[in-house]
Assembly symmetry: C2
Homo-oligomer: 352 residues x 2
DNA sequence: TTGAAAGCGCTAACAA
DNA sequence: TTGTTAGCGCTTTCAA
């Protein structure tokens, strides 16, 4: 029906000029001087014909495809994915680029296969992302490619990376608890995630805890306990129950993510304890859960959207300036930390 | 460093044959008979040089790129995205294709721009997806393209679509309630989602309710009430509170999604009612929430992964047979519906 | 100011 | 059985 696409040759013919001339005006190059009249004819012809350049052909010629790849280990499960992709898409779209997605499932063979597939398609660059912040080894196939690391980092090479600012997130969470007036009975649930699977802890946990402990030390406040456990609802539930069973009634709980907080809510509720009147709860991630819980959960947000967007910006705008970009994690104040109207004491965190 | 990619010319030269011969053996074409010896030389050369075909060049020549596009209205927010993309990725990868993602945000202009961008890159086909099941108008730019609809449908053209089997989901949910022994005090929360924003209801609501009502009628059981409201936690909470305030203590709640169920749990808990002992709860979607709630929530799953995978399979394998593919929604039995061990009475739904 | 022509890496019709 | 050749649609050098 609509038949074959109109090519530049069609446009040139209709405008009565050579393909060269058409190419120059359509590319908007002003260096080779073309008569205003010819230019106008070409533009009109292109418009009338509905001409659109074939980017495959252009890519073959120039080896730029205006296509970038987002390869990540696991994309599914968590809501991480959605907003990261959203941010990446927005940044790519704003620069007239398009985004290829791939998921390696943590398998190096799959990874190699996928990366080579993208290379075969001449992508202009890669965002290499992980679901959970951690150190990575860059796959060999990516050695000579433009790459930005998202939510991970590497020591092997000087490749730019984009990470959430977890230390300050920890500082802010602690500051919220202090600003709510607590100086004792403060417990941390989740800790560094030092469990069987991750005996050294996970990066987010280590960083958040560092921030928390810094602020506590500065305020001369002692944590009453740090429970190391997995970060699922059942873990939060179990550990808080255990706390309560030991007659240790906490005044404030810093939970290392919203799922842990959910478990904590459940355990507190079972004992007839009320948030925030009896126990103050502060959390991390600011997932949907934080708004769904009753009362609303105060949580330091993982800035998924900005992470995705920034990674693509760094990739495409290519400012090599800072090698690691730390994206601030905004604290979302809701009702679970008591002093809902009081912002965290700015004096506690002078660094911002 | 590694310099330019090795091309087929390099391979041919090293194997001492023409580019044609190299092309034929590398493409695995056996119709033009090539000596086993030449073939072997070409293969060796390709292997030794680490040859990989440039898919951009091939695409220009053959106009097949082994690249498909997933364009959807909103990708972020819900966990829908993650699993759908995951399924699509798996199916595409298994067929050695790669996936381009785009998000229109419901804006037709954005949509046109994005679709044309993909067309300019010569994608082989489109999966056109929506976050919530509904009817759509296919954008004009997609008229001449290979398209599969995902989670939506259109009356205008005979384009294949992939949809969750919501009617049977409704049937199964109702069957679970009946199998748990309830014949009265059954309330539905959420209904057809007939609210200000969507006065006619939403597709999922209409279909689920049809299934529910069919089964109830067949069993000669009367629903005690259907509450029409939005499907957020606060709505479930408010409506169940209202129910309880009216001294209508329900025996069973069918909530139209897991978020509504969360709100219901909260309201029941506030009144000291226990799930499932006092009230049986059955839900839809089977999101993470369903596993996180205590007790675990019995929920009819939206088969996100299979939806995504099937859409790509239909697109790539191109069986035109059924125009609409209904993907079954498995019921995930947990603790909230009481008779945890009893599967829904198969006699109730003979159609499977 | 414009056009001819080469070539990006690949496929495929045709000739040898 | 293999090689020559002509493109796919575009950019860009060079000559006119």
């Amino acid at each position: 029906m609509s038949g074959r696409r109109v090519t530049m040759t069609d446009v040139a013919r209709r405008a009565g000029v050579s393909r060269t001339t058409a190419s120059f005006v359509l590319a908007g190059r002003r260096d080779m001087r073309i008569s205003g009249e010819a230019e106008e004819r070409v533009r009109r012809a292109a418009r009338e014909l509905g001409y659109r350049p074939n980017l495959t052909a252009r890519g073959l010629r120039t080896s730029v495809t205006r296509t970038i790849a987002l390869v990540s280990d696991i994309i599914a499960t968590t809501q991480f994915a959605g907003e990261v992709i959203h941010g990446a898409l927005d940044a790519a779209g704003a620069r007239d680029h398009v985004l290829l997605i791939a998921e390696t499932e943590g398998d190096p063979n799959v990874e190699t296969r996928l990366v080579e597939g993208m290379l075969d398609r001449q992508v202009d660059g890669f965002v290499y992302a992980t679901m959970y912040s951690r150190e990575v080894r860059l796959p060999a196939a990516l050695r000579d490619a433009r790459v930005v690391l998202l939510n991970c980092y590497t020591e092997e090479a000087r490749v730019p990376c984009v990470l959430p600012d977890e230390v300050n997130a920890g500082r802010d969470a602690a500051a919220v608890v202090l600003a709510a007036g607590h100086r004792e009975g403060i417990h941390v649930i989740g800790g560094r995630h030092m469990t069987n699977g991750t005996p050294e802890g996970v990066w987010a946990g280590l960083e958040r805890m560092r921030g928390i402990e810094e602020v506590m030390a500065e305020a001369d406040v002692r944590l009453d306990g740090v429970v190391e456990c997995d970060w699922q609802p059942e873990d939060g539930h179990r550990e808080v129950r255990r706390l309560l069973a030991a007659k240790t009634v906490p005044r404030a709980l810093i939970c290392l993510n919203d799922r842990v907080s959910l478990g904590a809510y459940q355990a507190l509720q079972e004992e007839g304890l009320r948030v925030p009147d009896d126990v103050c709860v502060v959390s991390f991630d600011d997932s949907d859960l934080a708004t769904w819980l009753r009362p609303g959960l105060t949580s330091v947000a993982l800035p998924h959207y900005r992470l995705g967007r920034t990674a693509v910006e760094v990739l495409l705008d290519g400012k090599p300036d800072p090698v690691v970009h730390r994206i601030p994690m905004p604290v979302m104040l809701r009702a679970s930390h008591t002093a809902a109207t009081a912002p965290p004491d700015p004096a506690v965190r002078p660094g911002t």
